[in-house]
């Protein structure tokens, strides 16, 4: 199975990159663009066959390495 992980900045943490992307979209003429927040998307192939165990393992990976929980949140989805 596969883990799909989104790592995003916590609300309240400024995201100057997202802001710059938002400005760029505006200057390209895209109307109605509100706040833009940028994050990371990570896919991991897993040999684990139990969804619950896989999810617990990946959440541990997020806490230890994939996300910096001082500034980031993570969301894990297990598929396949």
């Amino acid at each position: 199975m596969k883990a799909k992980i989104h790592v995003t900045l916590k609300s309240g943490v400024l995201d100057p990159q997202g802001k710059a992307v938002g400005h760029a979209l505006g200057s390209l003429g895209f109307a109605g663009v509100g706040e833009v927040r940028q994050g990371k998307y990570i896919e991991i192939e897993l040999s684990e066959t139990d969804v619950g165990t896989a999810k617990a393992n990946v959440e541990e990976m997020c806490k230890k390495l994939l996300a910096n929980t001082v500034i980031e949140n993570y969301a894990v989805e297990i598929v396949g």
Partner: protein
């Protein structure tokens, strides 16, 4: 007094640090590789600047998980002095040996220039060579130096005197105009709660030679040498 510098693939300021430490301590520091699992018995451990592991994932994130960092954490726990400069500061926050996090500069650009720093405390082994409130000039060179801590952590580190240095004007005024990276409360360097671990984004080791732009960083190393002078060799 003895020192060790921890290097990672991508460290690039360790030689500057070797020079500054050799000058202040009278002997060269040991160099330790990231795959090593043990540190020599030293009074000071330094994590130098650079781009450990190419800043993959987040600056300092991979380095913080390397084998040698377990030994660094153990020594820090025992009270050994640990200094992280620039990338070394990022590594120490990622290793949770220091509070907060270092994010992309608010202006999104790599910043390489001289800044002024204000010494918030002069009663630590790292800053006893300065006066409290002293202002000195020091270079910065980083892309991810935007210090952030949540409001609770910020209140704690401010309340406990864990802010080591703040960016300021040549006269010591604070404000966004003098902070090169958007750091919260103009924070340029912080201590851990015990005060034996210090991280800062500016490079004091690159301000220890008059010919190369000044001596603003020299008191940090001289102060460390003085503080550790009584330590067994």
């Amino acid at each position: 007094m003895t020192a060790a510098i921890v290097t990672f693939p991508g460290s690039n300021r360790e030689r500057d640090m070797v020079m500054a430490l050799t000058r202040a301590f009278g002997k060269a520091p040991a160099l330790v590789w990231h795959r090593d699992t043990e540190l020599p018995k030293v009074d000071l451990i330094v994590i130098p600047g650079g781009f450990a592991y190419g800043d993959y994932l987040r600056a300092g994130a991979m380095a913080a998980q390397s084998p040698i960092m377990r030994a660094v954490a153990d020594r820090a726990q025992q009270g050994v002095l640990v200094l992280g400069v620039c990338n070394g500061f990022q590594v120490l926050t990622e290793a949770r040996l220091l509070p907060g996090a270092l994010m992309r500069n608010a202006g999104l650009k790599f910043v390489c220039r001289e800044v002024h720093l204000r010494v918030e405390r002069a009663d630590t082994p790292f800053t006893q060579g300065y006066r409290k409130g002293e202002i000195f000039k020091c270079p910065v060179a980083h892309h991810d130096g935007n210090y952030f801590a949540d409001s609770e952590t910020l209140a704690r580190i401010e309340g406990e005197g864990q802010v080591a240095f703040r960016y300021c004007s040549p006269q010591g005024d604070l404000g966004a105009a003098f902070t090169p990276n958007g750091s919260i409360n103009d924070i340029a360097g912080v201590y851990n709660d015990k005060g034996n671990v210090l991280g800062l984004m500016p490079h004091p080791e690159d301000a220890t030679e008059k010919l190369l732009g000044g001596l603003g960083g020299a008191p940090l190393f001289a102060g460390l040498a003085e503080a550790l002078a009584g330590a067994p060799a």
